[in-house]
Amino acid sequence: MAKPERQLAMVMDLNKCIGCQTCTIACKRLWTRDEGMEYQWWNSVNTQPGRGTPRDWESMGGGFREGKARPGRMPTAKDFGEAWNFNHEEVFFGGKGDKVHLEVKGEKPDWGPNWDEDQGAGEYPNAYYFYLPRICNHCTHPACLEACPRKAIEKREQDGVVLINEDRCRGYRFCMEACPYKKIYFNHSKSVSQKCIFCFPRVEQGVANACARQCPGRVRFVGYRDDKEAPIWKLVDKWKVAIPLHPEYGTEPNVFYVPPIAPPRFDENGNADMSKPRIPDEYLASLFGPKVFEALATLKEEMAKARAGEKSELMDLLIAYRWNEMFGGLDRDPATIEWVET
């Protein structure tokens, strides 16, 4: 694999994510509506702590350990959650009155892509949770690409986007086992593996990804890693507040997260307890590695500066006064594209 000339990346600010799933739906409506793709959610948002999507994906292996491929497990269709169909016609027009009600046709599900939404962990009043949006990480060291025996996966030279060539793919799914983030899906109808394409058709036309451009929480920054004028470089490399998920998986993701800060917890008398954070340190470290503490310290320091009325470049960046500037130049309005017949 040749090293790409440039690398597109994404930063997601977990302190702005409200778990609304607009990204999820934006992606679904654009890319995964065809037959065989109904159950695919290239973009998902899960409540952490939680079992996530696919269910228990963090325990499935894959990726690399000490530079060596680590065996991975294949999620089942039930782990992903199947695309449910409902009996609307029967309920509304079937003449059965209240003997029927709207329900999932066939076997009743016990998992879905957002099944454990807003559950989290802890004990009242010290419950804790936050939202973790995920797409394919378009890794610098993609386990999927390296696992594929058919060389059907490539990392584009011009932008580092990792794509599964559906013409070459024969549906062997070694990539699904190898991807430690379990962000590859199998299309049963076309017998090929599919995943987030980083909206390459949009990116090619200078338009930001649908998940980023449609995010009402203004959570997602997009751009090239090496663009020192744009937010990605500043957040990842300059301020170091954006860090990858599970760096220990060894794939070097190009999606980075600004880690979450929660309100204080309470002691046994119900008073605010500042001695330890609501979200346990161990938990955050288990997700983002030890660098999370450095990132959180910087964030808190800059927030305190802003609260004291001082100027903070970091806070201004995260605020994103001008929405379009979140996209590192991929700021074209798609509606201005005119498609013509030739």
């Binding site: 491929a69 999620p75 039930k78 390296e146 025996p149 060389k151 549906g171 799914r173 070694f174």
Partner: protein, 224 residues
């Protein structure tokens, strides 16, 4: 092995694994071995399969017939479950293929090498009726060159698959595929994938070496 010539109604039933043509065709039992772990093309596959055995099917019974235009192979082997539909991400279909060297020197163990291709006719249980013709020039290079020239049909009964793969002896193609003719000698090998064991891609049982195949000459006119 010999591919006898058949004609008439028998030839017409050649594509059917239960067809009359195969009733008294002579089959040979070929023993199979798993592809070597070390030859699996990626580290991830080697890591995943290091503690699992490869090549669940140990024997395949093979027969071949031709009708002067088409050559057909019939493969039969024990397979306790019929893995046809994929249905789940963790389920894989059973599959079989017949490989033929496009050039005589093509190495089987590496699925050919650059400039010397192996041609395979490939059938997969979830893709019934849509067998494909594949060309490979080394490990991990296989590519489908057409999906309309090879016919494949499989029937699973009482714990056994019977699969027929057939193609015209000669085909018009720019690709390095095997061209055959009655009366000539050719070589072949077979491979079988047991879906229930997660076998797919390079994880398969194969017949180790090229075997000779003699295509019975066409009967001369007047002889018939």
């Amino acid at each position: 092995m010999k591919a006898n010539y058949v004609s008439g109604g028998r030839a017409a039933s050649m594509l059917d694994p239960d067809g009359a043509a195969w009733k008294d065709a002579r089959s040979e039992t070929i023993s199979m071995i798993g592809t070597p772990l070390g030859l699996q093309p990626t580290e991830a596959i080697r890591a995943s399969w290091s503690d699992k055995s490869i090549g669940a099917v140990s024997k395949v019974s093979v027969a071949a017939l031709h009708d002067g235009k088409q050559l057909a192979f019939r493969l039969e082997w024990d397979s306790p479950t019929e893995n046809r539909e994929i249905g789940d991400t963790t389920a894989f279909p059973d599959a079989a293929s017949v490989a033929l060297p496009a050039r005589k020197d093509a190495p089987l163990i590496t699925m050919g090498m650059p400039g010397s291709a192996v041609n395979a006719w490939y059938w997969r249980a979830d893709d019934e009726g849509k067998a494909r013709q594949v060309v490979a020039e080394g490990l991990g290079t296989s590519r489908t060159v057409d999906t309309n020239l090879v016919a494949g049909r499989g029937v699973w009964k009482e714990g056994r698959w019977a699969v027929v793969l057939s193609r015209a002896l000669r085909v018009a193609s720019d690709e390095p595929v095997a061209q055959l003719a009655p009366g000539e000698k050719a070589a072949f090998a077979v491979a079988v994938w047991e879906g229930s064991r997660g076998e797919r891609g390079g994880i398969k049982a194969f017949s180790q070496n090229w075997r000779e195949l003699t295509l019975q000459p066409l009967p001369t006119k007047g002889n018939s």
